[in-house]
Amino acid sequence: MDESVSVQLENISKRYRIPVGVDAATKKIDTLAETSRSILGRGIESVKKSNAARRKKDFWALQDINLTIQSGQSIGVIGKNGAGKSTMLKILSRITEPTTGRVMFRGRVAAMLEVGTGFNDELTGRENIYLNGAVLGMRKSEIDTKIKSILDFAELAPSFVESPVKRYSSGMRMRLGFAVAAHLNPDILILDEVLAVGDAKYREKCLDHMRQIATSGKTVIFVSHDMVQVRNLCERVVCLKDGKIIYDGETEGGIAVYEGEGGQLQAERDFSLLRRPNHISGCVLMSRLKLLNTVDCVYDADAPIVFELDLTCKVDTANAGLMLEVFGPKGVVGLSFSQPIPQPVRAGERYRLTCSFADHRLAKGLYHADISILTGDSFSAINTHDTISRAFEFYVSPRVQSDIQEHWRNNWGSSLIPPVELEHFMRL
């Protein structure tokens, strides 16, 4: 493994077996009594039957995850509920084993999934610091040297240090838990969304501390739903969906993917069953769109955007054209173009056209595009054959090189209309 690599995941998959069948919903717990009752009462056959009812279905919570994290990088893992975040967290923190693949860590690892794991109510604050520290992998000598700093960080009143934790307020408890975890000093820190502890002031202190860790050359893996925290802490984001990585790259892009997910941030869409507005003629309909040169709908600032659009012709139409409007993050028009379709289209035929806009000069951000098929131009009456708003969405990453665009405000786009090329038109 390369020296600069801190964490490496290779082909990580995790399978859960979910019970299916009649009994699955009601029968959650087996008891010896039940099993023996069914053996005695109805014979071995019924046990076999109940075993059959206990059939399991495979569910892959993670599928073939490959990820390399450089030393010192702070990476956010985001995704909707059920995307596989928690499973990934559990595998990285070694709570559960992967079904396939391997993870390699270089250096001391600490995972924080909960504040105050293993605190015991009867023990005093001091005793719990030692217990919790040991659970998190600290040595006694290490805790001995850090205990004063831990107590200071927790901001406990001195009288509480020697009293049992059951007498603590919930805030004090969490502060103590966080204070212990904050003194772990690992090379690789795995964090769940545990930062929201205590009052606003203390929370700020915790966030500051996390930021310090993230910028001090430690590797941080942060699993969260809170995009504000992710923005604050992470320089790189991995977005998960259905157990797969759908985005891996710069933070804003990942957040856009996360926020756009469930919307139209899909590289391929089927329009055939989509409801259309009433005013369209329906002579030529769009049936499918595919963004060709991307998987996750994220483009570098310099990359051309290429898409493929399938048309189904219902009525013979000549002089049809394609109109595309791209809107920026707040509905501001980013760019718009129209392009004639080079030949008349005939009823009953299907066509595919491939378009690209290269030098689009869009600033970073999330964009969506409306597409219409029209006949006529701005000088005559326009006949709209088909129109789809938000036909596709995409995200433009910021330029990598230091460029004047870097200093632009987030939502500014380019007003330059790029040359559009219809690359290809064919009958299917």
Binding site: L32, R106, R108, E114, L123, V135, D187
Partner: protein, 285 residues
């Protein structure tokens, strides 16, 4: 994780190698003491009479059993050692065993909250339980000394060896508990049966009487009778412990060797079951 070595590598693998596990176990060894200490402190903080309880309870059961077996059943006439000491020499190792079994049989349940939130080799939990039980056994020794003082009984010099037999007894209890625990994930009501099993075991093992007493009173050549005792895994260590305390016992090498065979088997099965369940139980419960 506990290591200070910065260039160390940790590898998590599907069906991970055992070597890493045992290395982790060593790295986390201090956790055994912290868990044991926690259990110990908590137990004595919660109860009003504290440490006194762990003295009173075995004393009462000793006196009761001494009355039943010594006076009513008449075993006391066979020896000139104070019968309460005879009984206590059986109660001490038995209590150690029983405590290990009952605590370790709850391993997967009791540490669930912790194991869902953090990693450590799970074998730490029953090991800590065993250590707590050994602490209790140490307290029991104090009572044994007191009894010897009260009845002016001078143990044989081999009494110094008695400590040696506590560890195999504790290990036997721990791994028997682990095996029960591994099955209690599938059958949740198993832990109701454990106290009952222990109670039966207490009578099936010569706790309140010695095997030679029983042989004398039934007629010692009964083949079936011998088998019954020799297949008892605890038997060998139990009678070896009594041998160190009571000067009228003879050393039974055969039963001790059988005991070690049982120990090896139960530890092996225990580790196998534990590792098997440990890998997946977080996903199941």
């Amino acid at each position: 994780m506990a290591s200070q070595n910065h260039s160390q590598e940790i590898v998590i693998e599907a069906n991970g190698k055992n070597l890493q596990y045992w290395r982790d176990l060593w790295n986390y060894r201090s956790l055994v003491f912290y868990f044991a200490k926690r259990d110990f402190i908590v137990r004595y903080k919660q109860t009003l009479i504290g440490v006194a309880w762990s003295i009173i309870q075995p004393l009462i059961s000793t006196f009761l059993m001494a009355f039943i077996f010594g006076s009513l059943a008449g075993f006391a006439s066979g020896t000139n050692i104070p019968y309460r000491i005879v009984v206590y020499a059986g109660v001490l190792p038995w209590n150690l065993f029983a405590r290990c079994v009952s605590m370790c049989s709850g391993t997967f349940g009791s540490s669930l909250e912790l194991t869902k939130k953090t990693y450590f080799p799970r074998l730490i939990v029953p090991m800590a339980n065993m250590l707590t039980a050994l602490f209790d056994a140490a307290i029991s020794y104090v009572i044994l000394f007191l009894l010897m003082g009260v009845y002016l009984y001078m143990p044989p010099t081999r009494f110094a060896l008695s400590f040696l037999f506590l560890l195999p007894i504790a290990l036997l209890g721990m791994f028997a508990g682990i095996i029960l625990s591994s099955f209690s994930i599938r059958w949740r009501d198993l832990h109701f049966i454990v106290p009952f099993l222990l109670q039966v075991g207490q009578y099936a093992t010569p706790v309140a009487y010695s095997l030679s007493d029983l042989q004398k009173s039934i007629g010692g050549t009964d083949f079936f009778f011998n088998i019954m005792y020799y297949i008892n895994p605890l038997m060998g260590f139990q009678s070896a412990f009594r041998w160190t305390v009571l000067d009228d016992q003879s050393f039974d090498l055969r039963s001790l060797l059988i005991g070690f065979c049982w120990l090896g088997l139960i530890v092996w099965v225990g580790i196998w079951r534990f590792r098997k369940v440990e890998r997946t139980f977080v996903d199941i419960v």
